[in-house]
């Protein structure tokens, strides 16, 4: 019996010891994700931030700026100001922070420690401005200083910064970053999808953004606008087609490698390319097509087609825009123009972020205001108009417009230097509207600032704005639930979270 007793003791002791010894052996290895790396590769995250920022678009502005429309209630958000449901007006806000803004923050943290990475840091800072201005221009006050600090600082409820402060900081950032490049140090190289690491072009991009953001302030603070526009011009902005800031896409790989605007338009409307079975009932809007037609614009056949017997026809005479007030599918739906599958809808078309046309047209405005005297408004206007036509060649063969057509169009649209400032600006910014298509988000900002082109609002039943074109987009409804205190402070400062509340630079 003594034996039995010992047996038990030994068994228990042995067994406990044997088990406890290995109580958490190998756990750390087991708890390591085999499909993820613990280390960041800043280059690869920078590529992701570039793709994400460019793909983060607000589709509603393409209708609001009267390029496109639809008869469908669900598709009526942009051109009809019908907002029945959904998070469409907050999508840029919702996507930007966890994607491009967090990613560019990670890149900046990763490259900051090593002074050799000065060029990478500069490019990342410029890109961060690009990301943020697209958000604040749509929503106004947004989290900025403390945004994207969830992991590093455990800030889960970032305060909303006033847009004036955001602009001040963004312009300073561009200035500092542009001046910090060092040709002797490495760049992001091929991982930089915009310029492939070209430092000179990055500088031009930075000053061009400074020009864009500086001009944005003309309504709210003309003196500040002048300061920054002059600084931008002094730094040298994009003046050549070769310097256009763009991301090239390919028709392969994953969706992230494909032109996001084309993907979105195909996915919502045009994938069957038959002119009839457009899922959300989308077509080009009458305003846009009428304007191109009236001006004998050679871009008409480049961007637009009408399906005749199932075949896409680019003949200018056939093109017809759909009125934006249709509430049911018209019997002649097929006869209306829609985007050309060989240009606008190409999955391997580039996305143009800052064009030669934009900088020339903005410079023309600067010339009108007397802030820029090296060139005349007339010559800048001509440069911008021509660049706006030439850039379609970047879309491939179907986008090429012959030099003779271009010169004819430019000749037919002489700059009226004798007009009033308002008339001059109308001329510049109406061309801006045509030249920047399909970058409707930037056009929407430019329209709010300048009031041009003069667009007649669409009045249809059930619209959410009492028949006015909206002035801003809506914060995500989840912000009220997840970050309510800061959200309420922003609303108290800026006004109701509605489409018609004007943001700081639009006042």
């Amino acid at each position: 019996m003594k034996n039995h007793f010992q047996k038990i003791i030994y068994t228990v002791v042995f067994f406990s010891a044997a088990t406890l010894q290995s109580c958490d052996k190998g756990f750390e290895e087991l708890n390591t994700n085999p499909d993820a790396s613990p280390k960041i590769v800043p280059e690869y995250v920078f590529s992701k931030a570039q793709y994400d920022a460019v793909g983060d678009m607000l589709m509603g502005t393409i209708g609001a700026m009267q390029y496109t429309t639809s008869f469908n209630e669900v598709g009526g958000f942009g051109s009809k100001y019908i907002f029945l449901q959904g998070t469409a007006p907050s999508v840029v806000f919702s996507n930007a922070y966890p994607k491009e803004i967090n990613e560019i923050g990670e890149v900046i943290r990763a490259v900051s420690s090593d002074p050799k990475n000065v060029n990478k840091l500069a490019a990342a800072r410029i890109w961060r401005v690009y990301c943020f201005h697209r958000v604040t221009d749509l929503y106004g006050d947004v989290p900025y200083t403390a945004a994207g600090m969830g992991y590093v600082e455990n800030i889960f409820k970032p305060p909303y910064d006033a847009q004036s402060d955001i602009y001040t900081d963004m312009l300073n950032e561009l200035d500092e970053a542009a001046r910090s490049f060092d040709a002797a140090q490495p760049t992001f190289g091929a991982s930089d999808l915009v310029y492939g690491g070209n430092i000179d072009q990055w500088k031009k991009f930075a000053y061009s953004l400074m020009l864009r953001l500086g001009m944005r302030l003309t309504k709210v603070d003309i003196a500040l606008a002048e300061t920054w526009v002059k600084k931008a011009i002094a730094g040298s902005v994009i003046k050549l087609d070769a310097d256009i800031a763009m991301i090239k896409y390919i028709n392969g790989g994953q969706d992230i490698n494909k032109n996001p605007l084309a993907l979105s338009l195909l996915g919502s409307d045009y994938i069957n390319h038959d002119g009839v079975s457009n899922q959300e009932g989308g077509k080009y809007q009458k305003t846009f097509i009428d304007y191109l037609q009236a001006n004998k614009d050679p871009r008409l056949g480049v961007i637009s087609v009408v399906y005749v017997n199932g075949k896409a026809d680019t003949s200018a005479v056939l093109q017809k825009g759909m009125p934006s007030n249709f509430l049911t599918k018209p019997a002649d739906f097929v006869t209306y123009s829609e985007p050309n599958q060989n240009t606008v809808l190409l999955k391997n078309a580039p996305m143009l972020l800052f064009t030669n046309a934009e900088s020339n047209l903005l410079l023309a405005e600067a010339a009108v205001k007397g802030w820029y005297t090296d060139e005349t408004a007339a010559s800048l206007f001509v440069n911008g108009t021509g660049a706006g036509l030439r850039q379609w060649a970047l879309y491939g063969d179907a986008g090429k417009i012959s030099p003779s057509q271009i010169s004819a169009y430019v000749a037919n649209h002489p700059y009226n230097s004798g007009g009033s400032t308002g008339e001059q600006l109308e001329q510049i910014h109406t061309q801006f509207w045509v030249a920047l298509f399909p970058n409707s988000q930037e056009v929407f900002s430019n329209w709010r600032r300048t009031g041009f082109p003069v667009l007649i609002p669409n009045v249809v039943p059930n619209n959410a704005t009492q028949g006015q074109i909206f002035r801003r987009m809506l914060y995500p409804p989840t912000e009220e639930n997840l970050n309510n205190d800061e959200y309420q402070k922003a609303i108290a400062r800026q006004g109701a979270n509605s489409f018609m509340t004007r943001i700081w630079w639009d006042r």
Binding site: F5, F15, S191, I256, S277, L482
Partner: protein, 1163 residues
């Protein structure tokens, strides 16, 4: 290195060892030998039967030995065993309990009868016609040695006593003429004869384990009696943690056991759903996702703020996997948003012997972390000793019909602006809108382009959905001899959903073998193989791919059948609305393809080695493995996504547990019984998934992943492990006082290496008041119990400690991003430590009036601290969610079980069981500076489910119309619309009060069981009604259709406000109501007629040739009627997900009423 929470564990282990072994063991051994030395004259009786050199032991002691060895309970009359001895050689045998008992009892002329699985009644086998004199248990049986001949008699009655259940004759039943000493007992076949006086009298039939019956006899000569087993008996044995069987009296906590038969007749495909209403404190909900769907079971309230709240499922002592491959459905996730079924749905009800629900922490403490939410213990049927092969056949055929129809308006028909469509284009545009003119029977052009009468089409739901069918057949073979017993079953479940072309098939093979390899070695093995096939499981939530939209939201003058078969000659979808995001349901059921196959294997083996009679070691290994292949084809020609989409999921999941236990029993100081257990467990869990998705079939209508414009395949490999050591000590004193102490230490792979371990103890005790004190006569049984327990837990997800970066697979240029979990950025937490759930419970178990009335009352208080909370955060933080480790959640509640037997006669009985539970839940604390977290939102954020400090788990949050102090609606003078409040608490999504009432009637061969259950006090936010309002289906959208809607209220500065909304602006006005969540919020309380079983026991004596042992046929019904509800348009149980987002209705498959027949035959 030893990393455990050392001091506490060491102390505990020492107590365990010191407390049991040295003193207890030695003393017990001494007692045992002492009691074997009995006077020679007492041995005489048995000596003739078996004389060997060995020693003798009292029969009582021998039975005590068997009791522990086989986990049996013996009942016998006081004194019956006195002075009886047997040879210890009988005890050294290793035989089946029946054989050993027979050997041990027969020398003393005793017989035995199994009352239930674990309970055995022992009685005298003395010659028929005489009472055994010893009895004092029966008050009528007081005087000794009276023979029947000594009483004045003049009539002889005879009869047969049988047991309810198996219908077999019951031997040894005591039969006494009331008020006299006249009596007898039944013979081995249950027959008896008794002489009674001319004037008759009342005969009392009593037998331990059965309810005593009194039958008045006047001029009858034959009295047949069916004895009804006592629903509650003193020595009821239940299965507790690790499969250990314990006397219910010994438990310091509440355990409820439900027998397998309760699931096999009126069956649910998912056995977990069948728990609905049966057990106090168990909130079971079947999802509305068709056959093969999941369940959600919450025991004693939600105990985790955001983590898993469902209990752990354990089969034969070992955990099984209960994951839903690919995750639970959400509100808004397109055509792949389907419920793919959970792990418990793979268990065949026919294989279940019993289900024990361990509600509290004490009950579950030995299972460790995952048991914090309770444990559902399933014991499968095993083989049994019998001659030849036993065959059981069980067949059920049931039908499902849509049970609840929305109460739409049928006054105004399809159209817009108060006008009916005049062209196909207008009809298509208004395809899902009923804002037209007054329904008048005139002609109109419908969306199919044809002219139809403008009349209400009220039967779109009836016409679209089918009658669902479920056909289950199970065949089981059992058998065994002394060395080996087995049970083998084959089962097939074949279901057709109410959704056309949606089917589910489950084949199960289950083999259970146990045997002994030698005198000391026993083995046990269980293997189960499942093959589950499902086609076209319905999706829920948003419109894309959801077939439930059109039957509900087709304009009310359109007949859904006009749009059948849903596709044209080219294979493209025929649309009924230009909002093509809402699909033609016929196109979905005919052209969408969803298939999934699950191959699942559950294997368990255990080997037990008896070092001594009272000491054994046991090793168990179990593995639950499944392989799941899922394919979802959104076909070419879908109006909204014309080129189609493809999705596939390949999942391999394995849960492996290895357990080693050491079990020791002893007795010391005469009255103390001790059982000690020590063990270790290693759990490994593996989840591997390949998620393939693609878009745009290059060759139309050819659905292969090779034929896609874009594809991407994302792997997911998760591995977790938990290592544990545990021990327990059970002590009882004289069967009056019981104490259980347990402890367990866990190490978790998913936590920070610095804090990855936790030790947690439990203590529980019970006291049998009725044994210790002389209680008033009405009390038959009174037990007090109490327990306190802690359970530690960890996050189930691995890799949440450190931030990592993942490549985007298949990109043409290298792209890296912050690792996403289910499409969201999650802030990891490097300091993650275990959470703790602490439960305190006290209870009382009372039985009165000859056990005709019983009360089981429990109060519990459960607190979860350091809860691991994954919460959504503002995306402006750069992340969508964060994992915190600070939450505190409290659940307090009361559970009451009332049982009664209002009528108990020989051929009629009525049993009632009523359970009610109230749970008060409170979110005590979240993270510093955080007073609310978001768990779920509806599509388009019409409402949220939040956890808010100071409020119960699952608060529905939304907006209301602003009102002034007098209740007037405040209007915005500019927009003319009611002002919307900020987000407010609208109600609680989880019912705090649940109850169930079971009535069982038995009359001769007929029995009827009726279960009514209810849940109360919760709210439901209906997404369906948000759309129904906007589209003009709700009756609430009727005012103003003729002359416009007059609005009256005040402006924000208090001035009176009024205006009239013109008829053509009504849709706009009503559509805006989506901004006021309160309008779509309803009380979710209900009472349902949950289950009816009407059974006829076929008299098998007539089929002697077929060797049928028993047979029964039943009418069965589930969810037959809703007796009370406050929702007009949907079933308040219309759930679509088993995730934490409870409190929303979101256009899922309609719930059904289910009825059919069940046949059971035993050969």
């Amino acid at each position: 290195m030893l990393q455990f929470d050392s001091t506490r564990l060491k102390l505990f282990l020492m107590v365990l060892l010191l407390g049991t072994v040295p003193e207890g063991f030695g003393q017990q051994y001494a007692n045992f030998t002492a009691s074997t030395l009995h006077p020679v004259n007492d041995i005489r009786k048995t000596i003739a039967l078996r004389i060997e050199k060995d020693r003798f032991v009292s029969l009582k002691m021998a039975l005590e030995n068997l009791k522990h060895r086989f986990h049996l309970k013996f009942a016998y009359r006081e004194g019956l065993l006195d002075g009886k001895m047997i040879s210890t050689s009988w005890l050294e045998q290793e035989d089946a309990p029946e054989i050993m008992l027979k050997n041990i009892l027969s020398p003393s002329s005793l017989l035995f009868k199994r009352i239930n699985k674990r309970q055995i009644s022992i009685f005298s086998g003395a010659a028929n016609g005489h009472l055994n004199a010893e009895g004092k248990a029966n008050p009528a049986d007081s005087s000794s040695s009276l023979s029947v001949m000594e009483v004045r008699t003049s009539q002889l009655i005879n009869g047969k006593v049988t047991a309810q259940g198996d219908g077999e004759g019951l031997p040894g039943v005591s039969i006494v003429l009331k008020g006299t000493a006249t009596g007898t007992t039944t013979d081995a076949d249950g027959n008896f004869k008794l002489s009674i006086p001319d004037e008759g009298g009342t005969i009392v039939f009593s037998f331990i384990g059965f309810a005593t019956q009194e039958i008045a006899v006047s001029n009858r000569t034959t009295v047949d009696v069916v004895m009804v087993p006592e629903s509650k008996t003193l020595n009821e044995v239940v299965v507790t943690a690790l499969g250990i069987e314990k006397s219910k009296s010994a438990l310091g906590y509440s355990v409820t056991e439900v027998k397998g038969e309760e699931f096999t007749q009126a069956r649910e495909n998912n056995v977990a759903n069948a728990l609905t209403g049966k057990i106090a404190g168990v909130n079971a909900t079947g999802l509305s996702t068709g056959p093969g769907g999941s369940s959600r079971i919450i025991i004693r309230g939600n105990g985790s703020l955001t983590g898993a709240n469902q209990p752990l499922y354990v089969v034969n002592g070992m955990p099984i996997d209960n994951t839903t491959p690919g995750g639970s459905p959400t509100t808004n996730d397109g055509s792949r948003n389907i419920d793919r079924g959970d792990g418990i749905s793979g268990i065949n009800p026919d294989d279940i012997e019993s289900i024990s629900v361990l509600k509290g922490g004490t009950a579950a403490a030995l299972y460790g972390s995952r048991a914090a939410n309770g444990v559902i213990l399933i014991t499968t049927k095993r083989g049994k000793l019998q001659k030849g092969i036993g065959v059981e056949y069980n067949s059920t055929y049931t039908m499902d019909n849509v049970a609840v129809f929305p109460d739409w308006q049928y006054d105004y028909g399809q159209g817009d602006f108060g006008k009916k469509p005049t062209t196909q284009a207008e009809a298509l545009n208004a395809g899902r809108r009923s804002w037209g003119s007054k329904i008048d029977g005139s002609d109109f052009i419908a969306a199919d382009g044809l002219t139809h009468p403008y009349i209400a089409q009220k039967n779109n739901i009836k016409n679209f959905y089918n009658t669902g069918t479920n056909f289950t057949n199970t065949l089981a073979f059992t058998g065994g001899n002394e060395n080996l017993s087995y049970r083998f079953s084959l089962s097939e479940l074949s279901s057709a959903s109410i959704l056309p072309h949606s089917t589910y098939n489950r084949k199960t093979a289950n083999l259970n073998v146990s045997g002994k390899l030698s005198k000391r070695i026993r083995i046990e093995a269980m293997a189960q193989y499942n093959l589950e096939n499902a086609h076209n499981r319905p999706s829920a939530g948003d419109a894309i791919g959801n077939p439930n939209w059109a039957p509900y939201f087709m304009a009310n003058t359109s007949d859904i059948r006009w749009f059948s078969p849903g596709y044209n000659a080219n294979g493209n979808e025929t649309i009924f609305t230009t909002a093509t995001v809402v699909p033609n349901s016929y196109f979905i059921v005919n052209k969408f393809k969803e298939d999934d196959v699950k191959n699942r294997f559950i294997g368990q083996t255990a080997i037990q080695y008896n070092l001594l009679d009272n000491l054994f070691v046991k090793g168990t290994v179990s593995r639950d493995f499944y392989n799941y292949n899922y394919r979802n084809i959104l076909p070419t020609g879908t109006a909204y996504i014309p080129l189609g989409e493809y999705a596939a999921l390949k999942t391999d999941v394995a849960e492996t547990n290895s357990m080693f236990t050491l079990n020791y029993q002893t007795r010391f100081a005469q009255h103390f019984n001790i059982t000690a257990l020590a063990g270790a467990n290693k759990r490994n869990y593996e989840y591997k998934e390949l998620n393939t998705s693609g878009t745009q079939y290059i060759i139309p209508f050819f659905y292969s992943p090779t034929n896609l414009n874009t594809t991407s395949t994302v792997p997911k490999n998760q591995q977790t492990a938990t290592n544990s050591v545990f021990g327990s000590l059970d002590a009882d004193y004289k069967g009056i006082a019981f104490l259980t102490v347990t402890g367990r230490q866990d190490w978790f792979s998913t936590l920070s290496p610095a804090h990855n371990t936790i030790f947690y103890p439990s203590v529980g005790g019970s006291f049998l008041l009725s044994e210790a004190l002389a209680l008033p006569k009405a009390f038959d049984y009174a037990k007090l119990r109490g327990s306190w327990a802690q359970v530690g837990g960890a996050t189930p997800d691995p890799y949440v400690i450190n931030l990592t970066y993942s490549m985007v697979p298949g990109s043409t240029t290298p792209i890296q991003s912050v690792t996403q979990t289910n499409g969201a950025n999650v802030i990891t937490n490097a300091g993650l430590k275990p959470l703790t759930s602490t439960t305190f419970e006290v209870g009382v178990d009372l039985q009165f009036l000859n056990k005709r009335l019983g009360l089981d009352l429990t109060y519990y208080n459960r607190k979860t601290t350091n809860d691991i909370v994954k919460t959504d955060i503002s995306s402006t933080s750069g992340y969508n969610s964060v994992i915190l480790n600070v939450g505190e959640l409290s659940n307090k509640g009361i559970e009451v079980l009332l049982t009664g037997t209002p009528v108990k006669r020989s051929n009629f009985s009525w049993n009632v069981s009523y359970n009610v539970a109230y749970n008060k839940n409170e979110v005590v604390r979240l993270a510093p500076g955080l007073n609310s977290i978001q768990m779920a939102t509806t599509v388009n954020n019409y409402g949220y489910v939040n956890n808010i400090v100071g409020k119960p788990f699952g608060t529905i949050v939304g907006t209301r119309m602003q009102r002034d102090a007098n209740g007037n609606i405040v209007f915005d003078a500019t927009t003319g619309l009611p002002v919307k409040t900020g987000l407010q608490e609208l109600g609680n999504g989880v019912p705090p009060l649940t109850m169930g009432l079971t009535n069982d009637f038995s009359y001769k061969a007929f029995s009827l069981g009726i279960l009514v259950d209810g849940k109360f006090g919760n709210k439901v936010l209906s997404v369906m009604e948000v759309y129904a309002m906007r589209l003009g289906f709700l009756k609430a959208s009727l005012p103003g259709r003729e002359n416009g809607l007059a609005l009256n209220g005040v402006t924000s500065d208090g001035a009176a406000y009024s205006r009239t909304v013109a008829v053509d602006q009504l849709p706009n006005y009503y559509e805006n109501n989506k901004n006021y969540g309160e309008l779509f919020l309803h009380d979710g309380s209900f009472i349902k007629l949950r289950q009816v079983i009407f059974t006829y026991k076929i008299p098998v004596r007539n089929f002697k040739l077929l060797k049928i042992q028993s047979a029964s046929i039943s009418f069965v019904g589930r969810n037959l009627a809703i007796l009370y509800k406050k929702t007009d348009n949907f079933d308040p149980e219309q759930g679509y997900t088993n995730s934490s987002g409870q409190g929303f209705e979101s256009i899922a498959l309609p719930r059904t009423r289910n009825y059919g027949f069940n046949l059971m035959v035993k050969f």
